[in-house]
Structures are given as C-alpha cells and as structure tokens.
C-alpha cells in the first residue's frame, strides 16, 4: 500500500478579512517533496494566504501547521524551517551578496562553515560569482531576485514559499531560478509558489491549486483539473479560465 508523504504544510479553516474577506475558511495540504503552485486571478487571496503561512500576517481564524509545528503557537520554530521570497526582492543596497548571505545565515543561526559553503554553491549556481563582493545598489531586478533567492536557500529550508518569483525576470534568469527550485524539490525540499505564468505552473508543478474569492476552488495535477472542468480544455490556461468562470457564475 502506497503511503502518503509527510505533510509539509497544512492549513485548516484559515480566514483573513480586510475590508472584505480575503481568505475564506481555506483548507490546504501540501506534502513534503512536492512542487505546489497556487494560481488564481488578481485579488484571489494567494499572497494573503502565503503571507499568513510565513508569519507576516496573523489569520483571523484557523490553524497553520508547518512541518508538524503549529506556526501560530510557535512561530519561531516554524520560521526556522521556512523561507519566503516575494516578487519584489528585498535586499540591502549597501551590502554585497556575500555579506547578505552571511547576514541571513546569522539570523537563522547556521554554522558559519556550513553557511559559507552553501553560499559559495548558491553564488556559483546562480551565476553571481563576478558580483559576489559588489554592493547590490546597482544590481538589475534579475540580479536582485537571484540574491534574494540565494538568501532564501542559504539556511537550507524544508519549505520554500515564493510569491511571483519570476515576475520581471529575463528568460535566462527565470530558467536559472526554475532550475534551482527544481533541484531543491529533487533534494527533498517542498516548494510552494504563486504565479500568473500558467506555462510555468503547467511545466513545474506536481500539483496545482486554483484559488478564487479566498477559497480553493480546484486542486490536483493538470489532468485532475482538466477532468474537473470536463469541457475538453487542453491547456492549463483553458482549464484555469473555465474554473474561474464557473466560480464567478456560482458566486
């Protein structure tokens, strides 16, 4: 009998309201070693969901469990195994990538020798070597995103959460980022990512979650989603549009 892999992230009845409900009693399960992509129209609640998972927002209701740790009761333990990367890379202009990675490793209490070896590997994989000791102030968006990604990976997180990480990146940089993420999943890590680029979801995701109006309206592999629409949709784009249209009609 095939056993389910361990659960990396479990959301149960998670809700968040601003001036209107942004996330509405959301249940979501992501398994260890899985590449999970959340898609949905603008304002669907994707980013709010992920920001609650990483502890940047507190949910109004529900529970969040990361790698077996109750993230609301023990946020520090949950953060120890999690990395967050947003679409707008937040790095320090006056630090070099090398210094930035040392800073991040220090925050996560990583052994200096281990962190340094990882930092060197990441700098190499992401093609940052020529700029490793330049201050980030003159870096392009792609370079900054690569530095931020290296920062997210330098503490070897079990769960990596990325919000639109490929926005504004050129093809070469986007491929480097995708390769690094694939490599992490191959090594047993879990990746949860939001994207508006449906081809990326189609190609990279083990499972796709479609979120609209703060609720998960469909979930599964691309085949599962196609079956769910049952309208002969061929691409994820068709499937996605059909699912969202159904949701709008239902609402």
């Amino acid at each position: 009998m095939k056993q389910n892999p361990p659960i990396a992230l479990a959301l149960r009845g998670v809700s968040k309201r601003f001036d209107r409900p942004a996330v509405d009693a959301l249940d979501l399960t992501v398994y260890g070693g899985e590449f999970y992509v959340l898609v949905g129209p603008n304002g669907a609640g994707k980013t709010t969901t992920l920001r609650m998972v990483v502890g940047l927002l507190r949910p109004d209701a529900g529970s969040i469990c990361i790698e077996g740790v109750d993230a609301l009761a023990d946020p520090v333990a949950a953060k120890q195994v999690t990395a967050w990367l947003s679409d707008e890379p937040m790095i320090y202009d006056k630090l070099t990538p090398y210094e930035y990675l040392e800073f991040v490793a220090g925050l996560w209490r990583i052994e200096p020798a281990t962190a340094e070896a990882r930092a060197r590997d990441l700098i190499g994989w992401l093609g940052l070597e020529p700029h490793a000791h330049e201050r980030c102030e003159g870096f392009s968006k792609g370079m900054r995103q690569k530095v931020a990604l290296a920062g997210a990976l330098v503490h070897d997180p079990k769960l990596i959460i990325l919000d639109e990480p490929l926005t504004g990146l050129d093809a070469g940089t986007a491929r480097q980022v995708k390769n690094v993420l694939r490599e992490r999943v191959r090594a047993g890590g879990t990746v949860i990512m939001t994207t508006h680029i449906l081809e990326v979801a189609e190609r990279m995701a083990d499972r796709i979650g479609v979120i609209a109006g703060g609720r998960l309206i469909a979930e599964g592999t691309l085949e599962d989603l196609r079956r769910q629409t049952g309208k002969g949709a061929t691409s994820l784009e068709d499937t996605f549009l059909a699912l969202v249209a159904e949701e709008v009609v239902a609402a």
Binding site: G55, M90, L95, E102, P112
Partner: protein, 509 residues
C-alpha cells in the same frame, strides 16, 4: 497657452512638479493632513512673527546706515544665511543630478535637453529663493510694519542671495564632477554642503569663544579687530547691507548682480548638466566596492548579526555620514568652549552639556528612524526565526551603541575635569537618546531608508515630540550639572512628553 516644449511650457511643468513635491512633503498626500499642515504653517508663521518682533523690533527705526558696526552686523548675518542657502542649494543640485526620474524621457525626446535642464536649474533657484524669502519674511514684515516700507527692500536682497547661492552651488557641484568624477561627487558634495552650512556659524562661534569666551556669534562680528579691519562705509562691499536698509540704488545693483550671475551659470552649465546627469545615472551600475565586513562567515548570535548589519548600513550611507558630520561639526564650538573652560578652570561646562545632550537626542532620533522604520528587507527580518521583541532590542542596541561611540570622547574629556559633570552628561545623552528612540518606536512605520529625508512627513507629531524631548533632557542635564533641584521639574516634563507620545502613538491603537 504656451507652445509645447517652449521655455514657458517647460517652466510650467517644472513648477507643477515642484509644487506637488512640496505639497506631498507637507501633507504626505492626505486631505486631513493638508488641513493640519496648513494650520501648523499658519501657527508657525505667527510664532515666527512674534519671534521676529522680539529679535529685530528695536532696530526698526534706528538710523544705521552710517554705522560701521551695523553694516558689519547685517553683512555678517547675510553671509551666515547665505552659507546655509548655499548648503541647501548644493544638496538640491546634487539630488537633481543623481535622481534618474525623467532623465531617459528628456534625453530621448525631441525637446532641447539644454532648454529642459536650464529650466530645471531655474526651478532649483526658484526653490532656493522661495525658502530664503519665506524664512526672512517674518523679520522683514516686522521691520516694515514698525519702521516703514523701506525695509521691504530686504526681500530683494534675500531673493538675490538665493539666486547667487544657486549659481555658486551649480558651479561648485559641476567643478566637483569634473575634478573627482561622478562616482565620488555624491558623497563629497553632501559633505561639502554640510561643511559649508556649518562652517560659517562654527567659524564665528570659534572666534567668539576665543575673543569673548561665549558662544554668541555676534560677539565676533562686533569685535574691535573686525570693526577696525572692515572696508570703508562707502565701499561696494556694503551694498547688500545698504540695500537691506532701504538704499534702492544698492538694491538695484545687488539684484542685477544676482540675475547676471544666475543667468550666466545657467547658460554655462545647462549643456553640461545633461552629460553629468547621465554620468551620475550610470554610477549605480558601475559602482564596485570590494570592501567586505569579513573574509569568512563568522559565528554571531542573531542579535549581534542584526546590530552589525545596522552599523554597517549606517556607516555606508553617505547622506547619513554628511548629516552626522554636520552634527559633529556643530559640536566643535562647544568642544572648543570646553577646552577654553578647562584652560580657565571655571564652570562653563553647564553651557556645554545641554548642547551635547540636544545633539545626542537629535542624532539618536535620525538613527532610530533609519534602524527601526527604514528597514529595506522587512519581510526577511520578520520571517527570520527570532522573536519580534529581540529584533527590536537589537535595533535599539544598535542606535544606542552608535550614540555611545560618537559621544564617548566628549564625555571622557569632560570626566577628566569633573567626574560629576561627566556622569551628568553621560546620563543626559543616554536619556535623550533613549527617549528619541522610544518616540521613533511609538511612531514606527514601514519605509525604505531612501525615504529618510522625508521622515518628518510620516509624522510631524513624532518630529515635534523628538525636538521637545531633546530640549527637555538638555534643560534637565544643564540644571542637574549646576546642582539645581529644578532639574527634577524638567525631567518630569521630559517624561511627560514621552507619556503623551505613548498615549497618542499609532502603534498603541
């Protein structure tokens, strides 16, 4: 209606941008804030007129034209104001060079770039003139109200000073570009601006300390040496002073000089402006700093890592360095007074301590904003496995550590002469810095470090509270240093300011 891309059309565009920039600086875009800002401005103008009445009313009807001492005094005051205007104009010119904003649009449009930059320089001059006129207005209005319309000529002199300051700032900044290049000009220009702004005041105070043993800058201007070496009263050197006193011939000469100098500098530099702006825009991508904070990763606790990061960012911030330098420069006269005091062995340190404490409070406020609110990677820090209280403490420790580093030498020197004075000064510095940091904590916002210049916009209450708190702690330490029980009263006021801040702070809501 003016033709598109004509000088008047471009001037209109620049004026609109300038106006919106100013209004957003004052109101941060909020309608309620616009009302509050208007009321605050009216109150400030009223206060300045009262202050103007208090300081210059006695001169309104005096016959000053034939007195060398009056001409020296007015000229010295004009030079003092001009040095500050020059400093402000240099900062504006440097900012115009380094803010990329619409540079690409201008250079790729069919409009004459020279014309656009000429108008932009005109806008900088206009802003300098407006600031000068607004600041001088209360004093001139009081003099004109009490002494007659002849004093209104001073408006012309002040406007001319703004124009000449802009011309000089353009010349100085472009000279820096040519001599040291675009890479270094930003930092050096900011430091030069700070030094110019402070140099004249400090020079006069130094002279006053050595000649009269006081901090009054007017003591030096009225010294026998100064009066005996002043040019003849009929010299053209006194034209600005004579113009202030209502000599319309001198006023015409001063204004004509200003217009010619500004027009010549705009004509001369507008062609170069584009080249330098392009060079400045390219600096950020060309900058390579191979300095590292360590050769290898080092073992540090998260709190220490945070403190180290804060200090590194503070030390690598050219704007902050220039501001800190200015604060330190302003501490030079008190330091000299300290030296003179020790030499004479009297108790003038009572004068010195509040100056130092005030400076510490103000510097701590700026550092605390940078450290607590100006976090460029808030998500990274917030998602790190450290408690939010520990993060805040590390940032507070970074601020207090920096203040200790800057002020320790002064406290040490003071302690050598009087342990009591040293302890009081150290406690005052610590209290003022802690209070300023607490105020910034209460009013913390999420902002980028690059918004430091506009930090007052986010909360004027925080700015005023910071100033009141520093003044209260300065008064407390001065009274404590003179062993007066009244220190308890001012300390209560200082705590009262903190309590009020806590009650109205948005972070409590």
């Amino acid at each position: 209606m003016s033709q598109p891309a004509s000088l008047t059309w471009l001037a209109g565009h620049e004026f609109r941008l300038g106006w919106r920039d100013w209004t957003s600086l004052m109101t941060a875009g909020g309608r309620t804030r616009a009302r509050t800002a208007t009321i605050a401005l009216i109150a400030f103008a009223a206060f300045m007129h009262v202050f103007g009445f208090w300081t210059v009313a006695s001169y309104a009807n005096a016959d000053l034209e034939s007195e060398t001492s009056a001409l020296v005094g007015i000229t010295g005051s004009l030079l003092l104001s001009w040095s500050l205007l020059l400093s402000q104009a240099m900062e504006s010119v440097t900012r115009a060079f380094y803010s990329r904003s619409d540079l690409d649009l201008i250079l790729t449009s069919p409009a004459s770039a020279r014309k656009v930059f000429a108008v932009r320089m005109g806008r900088i001059a206009g802003a300098a003139v407006a600031i000068a006129v607004l600041l001088a207005a209360p004093f001139i209005n009081v003099l004109a109200f009490l002494g007659g319309a002849r004093w209104l000529a001073a408006y012309g002199v002040v406007a001319a000073m703004g124009a000449v300051a802009t011309a000089a700032a353009l010349a100085l900044t472009i000279a820096l570009f040519r001599v040291i290049g675009a890479k270094r000009t930003r930092l050096v220009a900011q430091i030069v601006a700070a030094v110019i702004g402070a140099a004249f005041v400090i020079g006069l105070q130094m002279a006053a300390i050595f000649s009269a043993g006081s901090l009054s800058r007017f003591a030096a201007l009225q010294s026998d040496w100064m009066l005996s070496h002043a040019p003849d009263t009929h010299s053209a050197f006194w034209w600005p002073a004579r113009a202030v006193l209502g000599d319309y011939g001198a006023l015409a000469g001063v204004m004509m000089f200003a217009v010619v100098v500004l027009a010549a500098s705009i004509a001369l530099f507008s062609r170069r402006f584009g080249e330098h702006a392009v060079a400045a825009a390219g600096v950020s991508s060309a900058i390579v700093r191979h300095r590292r904070w360590s050769l290898r990763f080092r073992r540090r606790s998260p709190a220490r890592v945070l403190r180290h990061k804060e200090w590194t960012l503070l030390l690598r911030d050219p704007w902050l360095i220039s501001q800190t330098l200015m604060q330190i420069l302003y501490l030079l006269p008190p330091a000299m007074l300290l030296w003179v005091t020790f030499h004479d062995h009297n108790d003038s340190f009572v004068l010195l301590i509040p100056v130092v404490v005030m400076a510490a409070g103000q510097l701590a406020g700026g550092l605390a904003w940078l450290s607590i609110s100006g976090e460029d990677a808030p998500d990274l820090v917030a998602t790190a496995p450290i408690g939010s209280r520990r993060i805040l403490w590390a940032k507070i420790e970074a601020v207090i550590g920096m203040i200790a580093f800057v002020f320790a030498p002064i406290v040490a020197v003071l302690t050598l002469d009087s342990v009591f004075a040293g302890v009081v000064c150290a406690l005052g510095i610590l209290s003022a810095a802690a209070a300023a940091t607490a105020i910034q904590l209460c009013f913390r916002v999420q902002a980028r470090r690059s918004q430091f210049r506009r930090r007052q916009t986010s909360s004027r209450l925080a700015t005023f509270a910071e100033a009141f708190s520093s003044i209260a702690w300065a008064a407390t330490t001065a009274l404590a240093a003179s062993a007066s029980w009244a220190a308890l009263g001012t300390a209560l006021v200082a705590f009262g300011v903190l309590g009020a801040v806590w009650l109205i702070s948005p972070s409590r809501a």
